[in-house]
């Protein structure tokens, strides 16, 4: 919303510069986005001139030599190219030395041999219009030499305001003026609708036109007035100037008046050429499905049944509250005007303008919701202007179809003074509260029916009817006018018994992230939505995703079901930029179209709240490593990370959590078929790990790479960290024993370890694989695992005679799986 300062000052002038006023408005809830300077940088050198004579230039057919009185001792000679310049005109003159709009400084110039001591301005040069053919003739009594700024805004400051959606009243300049009045206390001009135009004639509006509203819920009020003997002409300069300063293009007097009144009151209007409305019949109804009409902007629109149209006998002549049509548009020939000021349902306008992809000044105002009473205000202001500026006769009577919906009945609220301080935490006196509210247009009565000091009855004005419905709305008004920034103390709440902190899973996820970071991985954050083909990674699209109905683009239309796709793409981007090795991890959610778990906490996707989440959102950790994980140095480069490096990362995570980790071979389409495994923690499946498939590597330009992706919840579920209890390991020392176990090479090492563990019993406290050997010494197809065993008892020092039988049992058990001790 643009608020030209001069116009605003004519309604309320707090005597503040634009910057000061902007600051005050911004600090009370009306954000000033920008302060624009339009027109000339300064009004100096712009004066009113009187053309005394205009004669043909001796050397140029198209130029005239004018003698112009600009209030100086001698009239000055000005060469002018306009065809319409003539003696007797009052014109706008720029004197040499003045700076024109756009920044050029005007000098004295010789035009075809005659020196011109200034310039007579056209509307274009004054930035008032597009009519550059002729000079602008002023209608003013101002004397020659008077500052032009007294007649026209030569150098105008405009505030560009961000109006919050609850303040439809500030989409009218008088509303902004009221706001200025409220926050500065400067006097507010009488409301422009305080007096109405005089009607004349024996006829009545209903003789000329009729209005039928078929959808009263969507059109709570429709008012219409009729104007006869209208003369269509350009608007006077002052009106044009205000419109332009407010960002509107002048068209003709009638259309300009409708726009001007909308800008002033916030109530949009529409003018019909009544002679183009057959029988003067106006019908307001819902459009039929697929109904078409051409709007003023020359676009054919296809409507639906939720769109409301203003029709004549033959069909739609306008889309209600959004844009008029061409059919009964006001033209140069128009002499009879029907002026519509109607009220439309805000939500319906918002919906329809969204459906049609069409927003206008009118729809912007209606969609916020405005009160039906504003229609008659706008009629009053517009009527006076139409009579004054268009020579129109206001036909007696107003056609007023008012549904009188209960929701617009006048409202009174109760305001408790003590509640104000209780909410705000700062004192405001009853006198101050009363003053603030009254400045804003509220009616305040102290005491009220319920009686008692500090209880007020507050009448809500029509302008604020829709956004002020409760006591808290009044408290907000009081707070902002009183000055939150100025007066509000900074205190801390009494937290009582509440204890803050990270939840266990949050603290542990931080630990897991830190471990990956400290193992050499960089953390990536990739988008939650991906392309439906999941970066072309085979197998990822096997899980059906949650689909976004209205994505910004196709490649952001599916919610990710994995973290791998995004990580691979990120690794690929880095390799393409020349990175030689990339190690990335991500800690975030997958989005699965499944019922969320009812246990496991937020890490599993089990969230607080009565209504279960729509889908499952498990928290995951995933990593992709291309190139070495170990740091390189001048003493040599690390080797490319392989399966066991990736597994080492998982083991690190599992060990930090105190959770048992197991892997079982299992292929995935995107993994190397022989170097891939399913991951479980404490027996619960959690994800996968493996070397990436060569085709996946080729797609991102990598020669080798490993990855894993795990659900965090099973890891945390299996975690024992934090529940450790002390074990005495010093009183009775452990006994160590090394075994070399030979078995078929395809017997998994964890099967051997498990067999040893079971046979060793509770005295066997740990088993570590410290060497693996395959080769001639153990024979083809065989493999030797070297194990270091530690035996310990908690109540005695173990002797050989105790350990020896255990060793026997272990050897026997190994025999059971076809394994033996290396000879």
């Amino acid at each position: 919303m643009r608020a030209p300062m001069a116009w605003l000052r004519s309604l309320c002038d707090p005597g503040l510069e634009a910057r000061e006023l902007s600051e005050r408005l911004s600090m009370t809830g009306t954000e000033v986005e920008r302060v624009l300077e339009i027109g000339a940088p300064s009004a100096d050198g712009f004066v009113v001139g009187s053309v005394l004579a205009a004669e043909q230039h001796p050397n140029a057919d198209r130029l005239r030599v004018c003698t112009v009185d600009t209030g100086d001792d001698e009239p000055r000679t000005i060469v002018c190219g306009a065809p319409n310049v003539a003696a007797g005109q009052t014109v706008a003159v720029v004197l040499p030395g003045a700076v024109m709009p756009g920044g050029t400084k005007l000098g004295k110039a010789k035009l075809r041999g005659i020196e011109s001591a200034g310039m007579i301005l056209s509307e274009t040069e004054m930035e008032l219009g597009e009519d550059s053919d002729g000079i602008a003739v002023l209608e003013t009594d101002a004397a020659p030499g008077a500052p032009l700024a007294e007649v026209l805004p030569v150098s105008e400051t405009v505030l560009e305001l961000e109006i919050t959606p609850n303040r439809a009243d500030c989409f009218g300049l008088f509303g902004i003026a009221r706001e200025v009045h409220a926050v500065t206390g400067a006097p507010l001009a009488e409301a422009p609708w305080a007096t109405d135009a005089e009607a004349s004639g024996e006829d009545d509006a209903s003789d000329h036109a009729s209005v039928a509203v078929q959808v009263p819920e969507l059109c709570p009020r429709f008012t219409a007035r009729v104007f006869a003997d209208v003369t269509i002409a350009p608007s006077p300069l002052w009106l044009k100037a205000r419109l332009i300063a407010a960002g509107q293009r002048p068209i003709n007097n009638v259309v300009d008046i409708t726009n001007y009144v909308m800008l002033l009151t916030g109530q949009p209007l529409h003018a019909f050429d009544l002679d183009e409305v057959p029988g003067g019949e106006i019908i307001v109804r819902a459009a039929t499905d697929g109904e078409k009409m051409t709007t003023l902007d020359d676009v054919e629109r296809t409507l639906d049944t939720d769109t409301v149209v203003v029709c004549d006998r033959n069909g739609p002549s306008g889309i209600a509250g959004i844009m008029g049509g061409q059919i009964s548009e006001v033209s140069d020939k128009t002499t009879r005007v029907l002026l519509e000021a109607a009220n439309w349902d805000g939500f319906n306008i918002l919906r329809s303008s969204g459906f049609l992809g069409l927003r206008s000044e009118a729809s912007t105002r209606f969609e916020k919701g405005i009160h039906p009473d504003l229609t008659m205000r706008a009629q009053a202001v517009a009527s006076k202007l139409l009579v004054d500026l268009c020579g129109a006769r206001l036909v007696p009577g107003t056609i007023d179809v008012d549904a009188r919906l209960p929701r617009f009945e006048p409202r009174e609220l109760t305001l408790r003074a003590d509640r104000v301080e209780a909410i705000l935490g700062m004192p405001v006196s009853v006198a101050e509260m009363t003053e603030y509210l009254e400045r804003l247009g509220f009616g305040v009565e102290n005491g009220g029916e319920s009686g008692g000091e500090g209880v007020m009855r507050v009448a809500v004005p029509a302008d604020r009817h829709l956004d002020t419905t409760r006591e808290i709305d009044l408290i907000e008004e009081i707070a902002r006018v009183h000055g939150i920034d100025e007066h509000l103390p900074a205190t801390l709440p009494d937290r009582g018994e509440s204890v803050g902190g990270l939840q266990r899973h949050q603290a542990l996820i931080r630990r897991l992230e830190d471990l990956l970071r400290d193992s050499g991985l960089d953390e990536a954050v990739t988008f939650s939505f991906v392309a439906p083909d999941r970066e072309g990674v085979p197998g990822l699209d096997e899980v059906a995703p949650v689909v976004v109905h209205n994505p910004l683009s196709e490649d952001q239309s599916a919610m990710r079901t994995d973290l791998l796709g995004g990580l691979l793409a990120a690794v690929g981007r880095n390799l393409a930029r020349g990175a030689e090795s990339v190690a990335l991890f991500e800690s975030g959610r997958a989005y699965l179209p499944e019922r969320p778990p009812s246990a496991g906490g937020p890490a599993a996707g089990d969230f607080a709240g009565v209504r279960t989440a729509p889908i499952a959102e498990p928290h995951r950790l995933a990593a992709v490593v291309v190139g070495p994980l170990a740091p390189g140095s001048w003493r040599g480069q690390g080797r490319d990370a392989d399966f066991y490096d990736a597994k080492g990362l998982l083991e690190l995570l599992a060990e930090a959590m105190g959770a048992p980790l197991t892997l079982e071979p299992a292929a995935r389409p995107f993994l190397h078929p022989a170097r891939a495994a399913e991951v479980s923690f404490g027996g619960a499946p959690a994800g996968w790990i493996g070397e990436l498939h060569p085709s996946v590597l080729a797609a991102i330009g990598a020669r080798a790479g490993v990855a894993f992706e795990i659900d965090v919840a099973p890891l945390l579920e299996a975690a024992s960290v934090g529940a450790e209890s002390f074990e005495d390991v010093t009183t009775f020392p452990a006994v160590g024993e090394d075994l070399a176990v030979v078995a078929d090479a395809d017997v998994p090492s964890d099967r051997i370890v498990a067999t040893v563990a079971e046979a060793g019993g509770e005295l066997l406290r740990s088993i570590r694989v410290f060497d693996v050997y395959e080769g001639e010494q153990v024979g083809a197809g065989k493999r030797s695992l070297a194990l270091h065993l530690l035996f310990r008892a908690s109540d005695r020092t173990l002797t050989d005679s105790e350990v020896a039988p255990l060793r026997e049992r272990i050897v026997d058990a190994l025999g059971g799986i076809g394994a033996s001790l290396r000879g």
């Binding site: 050499g520 990739t526 689909v547 975030g588 019922r595």
Partner: protein, 376 residues
């Protein structure tokens, strides 16, 4: 005899002092303390001396021997140390070459770091950290946050909706019966949450007041340019009790701002409008680059501060007192709007990270360029 012992002792002392290396010391040891040495012979022959001489000679002789043994040992140690030093002093290296790191050090994403910093401040203030669903019911994202049906934020151009067919039919969970998305979108629809605020309602359903929580997480809006990405991260805050005021909000956010941006920061609260808070305020923190002056002195001349664009203030978040209508939705969980009150706030983590670290373009956070990540 005693004089002779003294002579031998002095001779040996001088010899030890002068010995150039271990071999010379060994010669000295053999000469003065060896089996054939004179002192050894004297001590061995004590028994043949007159009784009155035996005591003094034995004592002096033994003292001399002990002393010389000590001197020899010390001299030997000293010589050996000198020889070792002489030997290894040639083993020099270039101490300025890079070391060998035990592991490559990775980096947390700047958004994670910033999020944790913010979390830690509020944890210190007694807040609990909560998380909630990102694919959310309209009810929590809009309806229960006082967005009436038809509210502009619900429009398809602003909010991402989920295609119900992709959810599978589970009417109990989202009430759409697998039917097509409501147009215009309405209370039965499922969407990508547009803010972390839905957790206000979920948390209040979950626990009676007083409640002090913050909620970090991903959020989504249909915007994409240098200052908007369709996915971004927020931190929500909610404090509800019986007497929590707007002044408490100011104090809390001032504490937060000073913890994150420095102890000299000031706050500015500008009234604003949000559907689910009333009164609502936007919060600015005084610019930490120009100390709130809007002006930087660069090489003696004054320039407009380009961080705050010369205003001296940086907008960091939106907040306000929880609207009574929101409490109305959780009234049966212990939140009678006449009895409880409190504040809520929401901030963009990206915004805080950009301000703190001078990141110029929001999109850089999601490009995962390691050259960027490794700066943090």
């Amino acid at each position: 005899m005693l004089e002779r012992i003294e002579e031998l002792r002095n001779e040996a002392r001088t010899a030890i002092d002068a010995a150039p290396d271990a071999a010379a010391l060994e010669d000295i040891r053999v000469r003065y303390l060896g089996r054939k040495a004179e002192l050894t012979a004297i001590l061995r022959g004590i028994g043949e001396l007159p009784p009155e001489q035996r005591g003094p000679v034995g004592k002096t002789g033994n003292q001399a021997r002990v002393e010389l043994e000590g001197l020899l040992g010390a001299a030997k140690e000293k010589l050996e140390a000198a020889e070792l030093n002489a030997r290894i002093s040639g083993e020099s290296i270039d101490v300025t070459l890079p070391g060998t790191p035990p592991v490559r050090l990775g980096h947390l994403h700047p958004l994670t770091r910033t999020r944790r910093e913010i979390e830690d401040v509020f944890v210190g203030l007694g807040y609990k950290v909560m998380e909630g669903p990102e694919v959310e019911h309209d009810y929590y994202n809009f309806t229960a946050l006082n967005h009436p049906p038809g509210h502009p934020a619900r429009m398809l151009q602003d909010t991402f909706y989920v295609d119900p067919a992709s959810l599978g039919a589970d009417p109990e969970l989202y009430g759409t019966d697998g039917a097509a998305l409501e147009l215009p979108p309405g209370p039965r629809d499922v969407l990508l949450r547009t803010h972390t605020s839905p957790m206000q309602v979920r948390s209040m359903e979950d626990a009676t007041p007083p409640i002090f929580i913050i909620v970090p997480g991903r959020t989504y809006r249909r915007d994409s340019d240098a200052t908007h990405t369709p996915m971004f991260n927020q931190i929500e805050g909610l404090a509800v009790g019986e007497d929590i005021t707007l002044a408490d909000l100011k104090g809390t956010l001032l504490t937060f701002a000073r913890a994150i941006f420095g102890p000299d920061r000031e706050l500015r609260l500008r009234p604003h409008y949000f559907p689910f808070t009333e009164p609502s305020v936007e919060v600015d923190v005084s610019c930490f680059r120009c100390s709130g002056t809007g002006v930087m002195t660069v090489g003696g001349s004054e320039e407009r501060c380009n961080l705050c664009k010369g205003t001296g203030w940086l907008e960091i978040l939106g907040s306000g007192m929880v609207d009574p209508n929101v409490f109305g939705f959780v009234r049966e969980h212990g939140y009678d709007p006449e009895r409880v009150q409190g504040f809520a706030f929401g901030m963009g983590i990206e915004r805080i990270a950009m301000l703190k670290h001078g990141v110029p373009d929001l999109r850089m956070f999601f490009d995962d360029d390691v050259r960027m990540l490794e700066q943090f």
